[in-house]
């Protein structure tokens, strides 16, 4: 049927779609990238969580796929090794019918003499729609986002941020507790080296929770209170009245035996045992970003116990990553929300 050019370009989509669109609420993330929770406002966080909620259902169907991101090209750029997060992004992309390629570049772009920026430019020359990057250095995702046209998702930059982890944690808390506002959330472990801690602190504070951190002094970064949290150097006082407990993984091999003597001592002082858990509220939930060191930061019986929601975190992780991919890749090149009709 012949259409005049004028009609085509003046129509906002076609009028039928316009009708459809007015009946729906529409919303978007403000940036082309997801670099950290610090850049998001509470509204954007809720949008991601609400979208993720709907994506959960796809993984429960027999055909676990929708054609939404068909033809979109996503590259997983993992400069730091990871199995779980990488796999989670891969599955998320595939369930949205996107094409995804994982590349493990070693941090030795330095060794090969290729600059970080060059490595990325080479990949960009293949026109990906989205880049997912994990790197050992804080700020790597930010630098990438500045030099790339593609959207950049930070899958962990050193000890700085891991936004999708914080989002899936928030979704898990919301599923079990309804609202995050005013909950007492305790994050304990090696706070100094933890990107999960930092992202969670930002996310939970923006959603109105009271955040408490607990760590031995050698694992507590200086002036952490400036981020808006209460800090304890023992676990017991922190746990009093807690609604949510997030146990962080301890990596004693990282600081040598200088920061902490042994796993046994750690478990005695800071391990989440059944006794310590009893200090929290009866319906407190226990979370862990994984992988767990059983018997070090968390007792097996707690990890497997009725209050543990650790496995929910994993399935929520998939849904959150699908939501993030959808929101960043689903609507074409970077756009300015204010100028959209």
């Amino acid at each position: 049927m012949p259409k005049t050019k004028e009609v085509e370009t003046n129509r906002p989509g076609d009028a039928g779609d316009l009708t459809w669109r007015t009946q729906q609420q529409a919303a978007s993330l403000k940036s082309k990238d997801l670099l950290g929770i610090e850049q998001l406002d509470a509204g954007e966080i809720q949008l991601i969580l609400d979208t993720a909620h709907h994506f959960k259902e796809i993984s429960e169907r027999s055909i676990k796929k929708v054609p939404t991101l068909r033809g979109k090209s996503i590259i997983n750029l993992f400069f730091e090794p990871s199995t779980r997060t990488r796999m989670s992004f891969e599955i998320a992309a595939k369930r949205l019918s996107a094409d995804i390629q994982s590349i493990s570049a070693s941090t030795s772009s330095l060794v090969k003499g290729e600059t970080f920026v060059d490595t990325v430019r080479n990949i960009e020359a293949m026109y990906p729609d989205l880049l997912v990057i994990r790197h050992a250095c804080p700020g790597a995702a930010h630098v990438l986002a500045e030099t790339c046209n593609a959207g950049v998702i930070n899958a962990g930059d050193g000890a700085h941020e891991h936004p999708t982890q914080a989002l899936l944690d928030a979704l898990t808390i919301r599923d079990h507790k309804g609202s995050i506002e005013n909950l007492r959330v305790v994050i304990f472990g090696d706070i100094a080296h933890s990107r999960v801690a930092r992202s969670n602190i930002h996310c939970l504070l923006k959603l109105g929770a009271n955040v408490v951190v607990a760590a031995p002094p050698t694992f507590m970064p200086c002036n952490i209170e400036a981020l808006g949290v209460e800090a304890f150097d023992r676990l017991e006082p922190a746990l009093e009245g807690a609604d949510v407990i997030v146990a962080l993984r301890i990596q004693l091999e990282r600081g040598g035996k200088i920061s902490f003597p042994s796993p046994r001592e750690y478990f005695n002082l800071f391990g989440l045992s059944r006794d310590k858990l009893a200090l929290a509220k009866n319906d407190a939930i226990v979370m862990h970003p994984g992988p767990m060191n059983r018997g070090v930061e968390i007792a097996s019986e707690v990890a497997d116990g009725p209050q543990s929601v650790i496995l929910d975190q994993v399935s929520n992780g998939l849904a959150v990553r699908m939501a993030v991919l959808y929101l960043l890749a689903g609507s074409g090149p970077a756009k300015n929300v204010e100028t959209a009709a």
């Binding site: 129509r11 989509g13 009028a15 779609d17 009708t19 709907h54 609507s331 009709a341």
Partner: protein, 190 residues
């Protein structure tokens, strides 16, 4: 004040729905294996209305669900911002069912194409039929409705808006010019 024509008022809609309900049961020789699936958003209250009517005259509650086609649209990369995804609820076995898709307006046919894909991803139905309240012509895909409330020839400069009591506070079908429609849309601050 934008010029609107009322195509159907509350009573006319109700009569059309009654007729469609009867036609569905007649065409399918009864209510066995029937299922109604409303296409979000306004297809859903229409599907529920059909379900109520069939219950009234056949005494049978047909399984009724809803499907959100956001993830199946073919035009996502042109729309900014993203539409919000809503729930798809199909709490019954798709296999063996004759699924009657229900939507408010049939226009280009792209929405129905997406709905077909969505439903089929849940299972393999025996057949899919389509019931719409208004068919306004201008098909871009080879899609046709099996049950139609009213045929309304339109020009591309016009827009049909179906309003449902549950969502918009009243049942009516309106027609207006695109520009008026757009400015009304903007006025509502959506």
């Amino acid at each position: 004040m934008p010029e609107k024509t009322i195509i159907m008022d509350t009573r006319e809609i109700d009569r059309a729905l009654s007729r469609i309900a009867h036609e569905i049961v007649e065409r399918n020789h009864g209510t066995n294996n029937l299922a109604l699936v409303g296409i979000r958003t306004r297809g859903v209250p229409l599907a529920e209305a059909l379900q109520d009517k069939i219950k009234e005259f056949e005494g049978v509650q047909i399984p009724t669900g809803s499907v959100d086609i956001t993830l199946y649209r073919d035009d996502l990369s042109r729309i900014a911002p993203n539409p919000l995804i809503q729930a798809t609820e199909l709490d019954f076995e798709i296999e063996t069912k004759v699924v009657v898709l229900v939507d408010d307006v049939l226009f280009t046919g792209r929405t129905i194409r997406a709905a077909l894909d969505a439903v089929i991803d849940y299972g393999r139905p025996r057949a899919i039929e389509l019931a719409v309240l208004i068919d306004r012509g201008h098909r871009e895909f080879p899609i046709r409705a099996d049950f139609v409330g009213k045929n309304v020839p339109t020009s591309l400069r016009e827009v049909i808006k179906v309003q449902c009591r549950e969502i918009d506070g009243e049942d009516s079908v309106l027609m207006m010019e695109v520009d008026d429609f757009v400015s009304q849309y903007e006025d509502q601050g959506k």
